[in-house]
């Protein structure tokens, strides 16, 4: 047990606190190169991370920066600054704490580089920028510790990869640097430890997880519908729960669902309970207002999305409600952790399935939580577009030696396995663009000097490189304002593509209110208040999460020999009926049903491979059917099945599932796919090929620019093996397309394909007919639609016979 210095001991005593075991454990390991702390929210995690720093700085002798704190959210940095000020003020410690984010004034940022505080709180993007200045070594001189907060969230995206490269850079500047990671409960702590420490040893400290959560499914009088995701049926029961608790967080999987639910909640809110909404597309000021009201205890409930997932201290939340199946047990557990920040009280949570199938999913998820089984997949190797950006940022900081940079990058956890060939390809891309056609040797962005070091050809390009730093992809968003012109009240942002689908007079939901689209002016969407019955729903960026492999396996297990009494009667009856008229899907087999419905032949494939993979399966199977002359017309996919319809009945579906042919179809289809173009755009922006448009450039949007799709098409035609095309393919195969889960599904079935020809729709297939997101199979759809318009013109002109 490490002894606390007297001043700290007294402070703890005055507070009436006991130091937590994990806090003293971190203190005892303050000399270790890296340590990962896994602790539930509210367990004094942040203090555990900072205690060694506060003690080291207490005597006032340290010069310059001592500890760097990095978190995924700007708001979190501000929150921590507030929390640290209490012990520092009360113990009168001679410590200067400052934050630095995108919101910090430029003059302050400049001063911070020359005269850094003892403790700097920042984000991965701001840190990447700081390391790209020539004076980085001076700014970070004396740095002893790095605290990475919410590291489990950073590890899920490219932001984490970029952060770890920046840490590798800092480690070179300050060789004795110690790293501490703070994480919520995760499935593979050793993966996060390696992510943080690279090849260095990293001990994992598990804090007492606290009492088991009190978690159940919300029982309602009305059974959930067959399909859909709104959970409107549960509104009265949810309102009842809000009344019974002090503060409730109501989580949704998507922003669109949150908007609809919030709208319905208000329609039924007869007592006018104060309820707010919070998601990433709402205006910053509006979000701050909700956050402040929440901290002040003025709100009884907040309808929210993942934007509230991270560890900001929200005060007295005593209930978390999850609307819709959680899709992923790990995320569910982390959300439940949001409730009740008092360390020793159990968190209370309710699951609200949105439809009949989600009832089964929720029950399976509950069993996983009780069994303490989290899901997750191993972290993939760090992507190379981030590597390219890092090389450019490194060049902006000054000349570098390629061998040294390669070694430095390979010390970062996500890039431990980086090959020299891949590194060289990235370096070549940064230098010349890396094209098969050697066109740009005269115009290298970076070039090797006589000293063997790599330099920027044009030092002025450093500013441009910095402007494009970061890995967060914001799609083109337009501000929404209530009223005319700049003076209108900002409501939030919508995607440009959604705005393009609106015509004046259309209504949509924004921040819980119905607004009427008036027009677009200088890249601002102008709206007025409206009272419409059926507003449109804005599409927001963000992919839908697919049900995890582990959760899918649990669902299959529950359906086959599991305890079905755990299901409510309405759902149990539904499952029994499916068993009677067809068959229940099983883990070791692949169930396929075929049946006629409304004059079309249908095929339903129960792959349980998650939404993305089932969607890909739909594309590949319909392509195969097209090749075989089976006239497919369309399909729709959910997390557990794909439903395909067409003109001809399929008598033998087995030949459709030839893996080699499916894979061959994937290559052709993948290249042409719109999802690929979307990925390419992100990759090309991060790697530095495309520049982010600044607000000023957007204003002059009249200047004709061409889209990144054209670049993709050009590369596909003339240079398909270009580095960025490789990165795009790797990313698509892993995320959007999820082909590995189709392979997994086929392996699981091991050739046991059961085809059940039925005379009518089966109970499990019925909900698929109500699913949104049907995909029309029609290669020449655009041509045909334009032909219709032309025909209409000719008819109107009296030209057609």
């Amino acid at each position: 047990m490490t002894q606390l210095p007297a001043a700290f001991d007294a402070w703890f005593h005055d507070k009436g606190w006991q130091i937590h075991p994990h806090q003293s454990a971190l203190l005892a390991r303050s000399a270790a190169p890296a340590t990962l702390l896994i602790a539930p929210t509210g367990g004094g995690k942040t203090l555990a991370g900072f205690l060694p720093t506060l003690i080291a700085l207490a005597d006032g002798t340290h010069q310059g920066m001592h500890t760097l704190y990095v978190s995924p959210l700007k708001a979190l940095a501000a929150d921590i600054k507030r929390n640290l000020s209490t012990p520092i003020a009360e113990m009168q410690l001679p410590i200067r704490v400052e934050d630095r984010t995108g919101d910090t004034a430029n003059s302050v940022k400049k001063r911070q580089r020359a005269d850094p505080p003892h403790i700097l709180l920042t984000t991965p993007e701001s840190l990447a920028l700081m390391t790209s200045y020539e004076d980085a070594a001076r700014t970070f001189a004396g740095l002893k510790r790095i605290v990475v907060d919410e590291i489990h969230a950073l590890a899920e995206s490219k932001r984490g990869d970029q952060l770890m490269l920046a840490l590798a850079r800092l480690q070179t500047i300050c060789p004795g640097l110690k790293r501490v990671g703070l994480s919520a409960t995760v499935d593979r702590p050793e993966d996060i430890a390696q992510f943080l420490a690279g090849a260095a040893p990293c001990e994992v400290i598990d804090a007492d997880p606290g009492p088991a959560p009190d978690i159940a499914m919300l029982r309602t009088e009305t059974p959930p519908p067959w399909s859909g995701g709104g959970a409107a049926y549960a509104i009265p029961a949810v309102l009842e729960e809000i009344r019974k608790h002090k503060t409730t967080l109501i989580f949704h999987n998507t922003r669109a669902q949150a908007e609809i639910f919030f709208h319905n909640l208000w329609l039924a809110n007869d007592d006018s309970l104060p309820i707010g909404i919070h998601h990433g597309s709402l205006d910053h000021a509006q979000r701050l207002k909700v956050e402040a009201a929440m901290v002040a205890g003025e709100l009884r409930a907040v309808v929210c999305t993942g934007s509230l997932d991270l560890g900001i201290d929200w005060g007295d939340v005593d209930l978390v409600i999850q609307i819709g199946a959680p899709k992923n047990v790990k995320r569910l557990v982390q959300r439940i952790g949001r409730a009740n920040h008092r360390y020793n009280a159990p968190s209370k949570a309710l699951l609200v399935p949105a439809n009949r199938f989600e009832v089964i999913e929720c029950v399976a998820a509950l069993q996983a939580v009780l069994a303490g089984k989290l899901d997750g997949s191993p972290r993939a190797d760090g992507p190379k577009d981030v590597l390219c950006q890092h090389i450019l940022l490194r060049a902006a900081a000054g000349p570098f030696d390629a061998d040294a940079l390669f070694d430095e990058m390979r010390s970062a956890g996500p890039y431990l396995g980086l090959s020299r060939a891949d590194f060289d390809a990235c370096l070549e891309f940064c230098a010349t663009g890396g094209y098969a056609l050697r066109a740009y040797d005269q115009w290298q962005r970076i070039r090797q000097g006589a000293d063997g070091l790599w330099h920027l050809r044009d030092p002025r390009s450093a500013a441009r490189i910095r402007m494009n730093a970061g890995t967060i992809q914001d799609s083109d968003l337009l501000k929404v304002r209530l009223g005319r012109g700049r003076g209108g009240r900002p409501l939030g942002e919508i995607e440009e593509s959604f705005a393009a689908s609106l015509t004046p007079g259309d209504t949509f939901l924004m921040g819980g209110q119905i607004v009427r689209y008036e027009g677009l002016r200088e890249l601002t969407v102008e709206v007025s208040r409206a009272a419409a019955k059926k507003p449109k729903v804005a599409t927001f960026m963000g992919t839908k999460f697919a049900t995890s492999t582990q959760l899918s396996a649990r669902i299959l297990a529950l359906l086959n020999g599991g305890d079905l009494t755990a299901l409510p009667p309405h759902t149990r009856d539904w499952v029994a009926l499916q068993q009677e008229v067809s068959c229940l899907p099983q883990a070791g087999r692949l169930l396929i049903e075929s049946f006629p419905h409304e004059g079309r032949a249908h095929l339903c494939v129960y792959g349980f491979a998650g939404r993305n993979a089932q969607q890909t399966l739909g594309l590949l199977l319909t392509k195969r059917m097209e090749d075989l002359g089976l006239a497919p017309m369309g399909f729709v996919a959910t997390d557990y099945a794909t439903l395909i319809w067409g003109l001809d009945a399929i008598t033998d579906p087995v030949p459709l599932f030839d893996m080699a042919l499916l894979r061959a179809g994937l290559d052709g289809w993948l290249a042409e796919n719109a999802l690929m173009k979307r990925s390419f755009r992100g990759v090309a922006t991060i790697a530095g090929l495309l520049e982010r448009r600044t607000a000023a450039q957007k204003k002059t949007g009249r200047q004709a620019t061409f889209s990144s799709d054209i670049l993709y098409d050009t590369l596909l035609r003339y240079d398909p093996d270009h580095l960025l095309m490789q990165i795009t393919r790797e990313e698509a195969m892993r995320g959007l397309v999820d082909f590995s889960r189709i392979e997994e599904m086929m392996q699981r079935a091991g050739g046991n394909i059961d085809h059940h020809p039925l005379e009518r729709v089966s109970p499990f297939a019925a909900p698929l007919f109500l699913e949104v997101g049907k995909v029309q199979v029609n290669g020449s759809a655009d041509e045909r639609l334009l032909a219709e318009e032309e025909a209409a013109l000719l008819t109107a002109a009296g030209i057609s016979e």
């Binding site: 663009g433 090929l689 003339y718 029309q776 655009d782 639609l785």
Partner: protein, 223 residues
């Protein structure tokens, strides 16, 4: 090859899906805004290393149109090069290719705002070309008729039954036709933009580019 015919000043003109315009009576092919050398110019101005295949892609399509129409006369309607330096910096392989295309053809380079001045390539270099009853110039002039121009890179957006489709397009009315940009790395300006809408009559039509060109009334297009 699917095409759409329309008439201007009594002459029959043919819009090709590639964005080229064919005047059969004069055996003449007209293309606008090739913007050759755009990737090189962007780089020179401090931008990124765009895939250097735009020249190649544009010339492949031009060669294809020349073969299919058998054109003996060619008018490049301005902004053929992204700037004059880009024309000079064109790789030898590309200039050879252009010379090959020019062989045996009467070739006119109209000056554009991007390439205002003589080029180091054979052919006539003109501010505009008068071939009664038609006039070829880079930028449309209000009040003129029988005019063929480019410059604006027009595109249209059509609200169809199922989705909105946006395409580069020809715009024409009883006075003029404005050609879409032919170059690979070129964006578009919506037909509803005041700069374009102000030039066209209310009864104007658009012809979309693409596999099968289609004629659409400009009043059908979405803003």
């Amino acid at each position: 090859m699917k095409t759409v015919e329309f008439s201007l000043a009594g002459e029959t003109l043919t819009a090709l899906g590639s964005g080229a315009l064919w005047w059969g009576a004069h055996n003449l092919l007209c293309v606008s805004d090739l913007h050759l050398g755009k990737s090189e110019r962007i780089l020179r101005k401090g931008g990124g290393h765009l895939p250097p295949y735009d020249v190649q892609d544009t010339l492949i399509r031009l060669e294809n149109d020349l073969r299919q129409t058998g054109a003996e006369n060619v008018v490049c309607l301005g902004d053929s090069f992204d700037d004059l330096a880009a024309a000079d910096a064109l790789p030898e392989q590309a200039t050879d290719w252009i010379l090959r295309l020019q062989a045996g053809r009467r070739w006119v380079w109209i000056e554009g705002n991007h390439d205002p001045g003589p080029l180091d390539l054979p052919g006539s270099h003109l501010a505009e070309l008068l071939t009664p009853p038609l006039t070829f110039r880079h930028i449309a002039q209000p009040g003129q008729s029988g005019e063929i121009s480019g410059h604006y890179h027009p595109k249209i957006s059509v609200q169809t039954r199922l989705r909105r489709i946006s395409r580069p397009a020809f715009l024409f009315d009883s006075d003029r036709v404005i050609l879409p940009a032919y170059g690979t790395y070129t964006g578009g300006l919506r037909s509803s933009d005041p700069a374009l809408a102000g030039l066209m009559r209310r009864t104007a039509y658009a012809i979309t580019t693409g596999q099968t060109p289609r004629m659409i009334s400009l009043s059908q297009t979405a803003t």
